[in-house]
Symmetry: C2
Subunit: 336 residues, 2 copies
């Protein structure tokens, strides 16, 4: 009635049922959500399952290239895709702040529904809670997802070995810089858009072409490429060597990073992946990636070495070398 | 270092990895979480899957009989069990407020781990986000869960038909009254405890004994028994008739409801279920339920009738009748 979320929307009564029906069921519409029970029940294709979850607290909620709703679909689809899984179904839990405009909630749900359809997943079950004004920040969303992993595929962060080649699927830093620029109200000649996108299509092509040579995939989200490479070095008990000149960075992103005092290596991405692959398959994988719209700027950025210290080292553009550490601090809060 | 959550704990770097390792991985320990990838990958037994999610925003976080952590396991296990599913795995997404005491977080994670072990489920994947002080309220948790539904079992809210008998597994109102009493700092002679519990064991016994006669199960959480009966009446296109005298209510809960101006019919439960069953199996089901510790106060409370208006009507203790409506308002915010 007031056009805003109020506490009754989380109270389990008529107002909640109406909100769910009009905003969520409408935008997520599918046969499984329509069961309308405490859970969705469905058959799954044979194969192992992958399961993942992420919470989304991005600020601002709407940003160039997406919003918290599309992000909450892409992020969870991508964490499934990183296992080589075909994403099937998502759940969506909403925590709403009293007073949040229903029109904004509808826009978010609409983007979520569209992102899910585009990625080929269904939002099959959900939940809606409301907290008092000042006890949350507009909307938080947690999505979980399940997918099915093709038989014989066994990607894992501990599978990299010395000699493996490392590829990135495109330019780095776009998402984090888009968020920070919109937060700081920075204007550039070229608008910087988040790269938020579902990578399951790209991954399917990669797996089809090079499945048996792939060691692992990971999406460099919070902490950026630097954190992800360090995680994998530790998990696989190897070292990593990358080339600064090989890293794809958009000029406008590089410029914004200068201005904001950020290093693109530490900035979150939401539509990129890194792949570790056996050396003999690297060129083929690169070709396959570049044929996909989300991999057109793919590049080989480095390789794995034997290194008991698990260092990630980069040869810089000037020919020097430096350690690429992961940050210990809070450089970029609420980036996703 | 400070003993409190800070923004670095959500930033994707070392501090986050350490928090996850020391607080979550420690308490949830299992082989699938230990994979340490962006997702967990596992085989599932044959059968259809059930999937569900809930967000938890209960205030206070610690209450007589449980805390947000145990609640987040029980609630999601129960929504799976209401399909007759054997719960398998959970995901857990945490949204933490900067400044929240790490010791409290550890207590919550410990309860969660214990509740999961007790219910026979694994927390296989998680996520940790941190928002600035004042942008959340301590801790919010969203859990999702999957379970496997035995072949041939097809429970659903639209399956009730006139003549079906309605049972409740025990006393109503305990959870909501425990929360409200602790919020209002009320002291009673007998402390009122939340009934928060995992119902999958009870459900397994019910399904084993009366599977083919069961129509549906539902846990009367937010909105209480009143909301749940109204939901089902609508979904199944029937009417419901219940007997006030048949409703199990603890005397201390009844007294507290008086004092707080609540009706136990509208108060949330977190360890109770209602069952709709074919009339010929009702007595047997009651017996089986009473043999289980979580069903010892089970009772037959009413039956379904043909009613195009989907009314839920109650014969009161005084012999009169009244409509049991679901509330449209926000009587009990943040009860779960
Ligand atoms: N934001 C949402 N998007 C899509 N579906 C939703 C959303 N919120 C709730 N639902 C759906 O509405 C129905 C009722 O949800 P509800 O949360 O009331 O069930 P519950 O989890 O059994 O109860 P409670 O949350 O009180 O424990 C379910 O089918 C659920 O999947
Ligand atoms: N609260 C938690 N409890 C249990 N495990 C957790 C928790 N938070 C994170 N994890 C686990 O830690 C690992 C790293 O989680 P992280 O969230 O960094 O991965 P991601 O989702 O791929 O990255 P991002 O959240 O930045 O998208 C995963 O294996 C995840 O399951
Ligand atoms: Mg339920
Ligand atoms: Mg993720
Ligand atoms: Mg729910
Ligand atoms: Mg990831
Ligand atoms: Mg529930
Ligand atoms: Mg995560």
């Amino acid at each position: 009635k007031t056009g805003k979320v109020d506490l009754s929307h989380g109270a389990g009564g008529r107002a909640m049922a109406q909100l769910i029906g009009e905003i969520f069921a409408e935008n997520f519409a599918n046969d499984l959500l329509a069961q309308g029970n405490d859970q969705a029940v469905f058959s799954v294709p044979p194969g192992r399952l992958a399961m993942t979850t992420d919470g989304y607290v991005v600020s601002p909620l709407f940003f160039p290239g997406g919003n918290i709703g599309s992000l909450a679909v892409h992020g969870t689809v991508n964490d499934l895709a990183m296992a080589g899984a075909r994403p099937l179904h998502l759940s969506a839990s909403f925590i709403l702040e009293e007073g949040f405009p229903l029109a904004d909630l509808a826009r978010i749900a609409e983007s979520m529904g569209a992102a899910a359809r585009e990625a080929g997943v269904k939002i099959v079950t959900g939940d809606t809670k409301v907290v008092e004004r000042g006890k949350a920040d507009g909307v938080f969303i947690s999505t979980a997802g399940i997918g099915v992993v093709p038989d014989g595929l066994d990607l894992s962060g501990d599978k990299a070995r010395p000699g493996d080649v490392i590829l990135v699927s495109g330019t780095i830093g776009d998402h984090g810089v888009a968020i920070m620029s919109s937060r700081e109200n920075l204007q550039f000649e070229t608008q910087i858009l988040s790269d938020s996108a579902a990578l399951n299509g790209l991954v399917a092509d990669m797996v089809a072409a090079c499945g048996e040579s792939l060691r692992l995939l990971r999406d460099p989200t919070r902490g950026g490429l630097a954190a992800t490479l360090n995680e994998i070095a530790r998990q696989s008990n190897i070292g990593v060597r990358i080339e600064e000149d090989a890293l794809p960075v958009k000029p406008e992103v590089a410029a914004a990073c200068e201005l904001l005092g950020l290093d693109p290596l530490n900035v979150a991405n939401e539509g990129k992946l890194i792949a570790f692959v056996a050396p003999e398959a690297a060129e083929k994988l690169l070709r396959v990636m570049r044929e996909h719209p989300l991999g057109k700027d793919a590049a080989i950025i480095g390789a794995c070495v034997d290194d008991p210290h698990h260092f990630v080292q980069m040869r810089t553009s000037f020919g020097g070398g430096r350690i690429v550490d992961w940050l210990s601090g809070e450089q970029l809060p609420r980036i996703c």
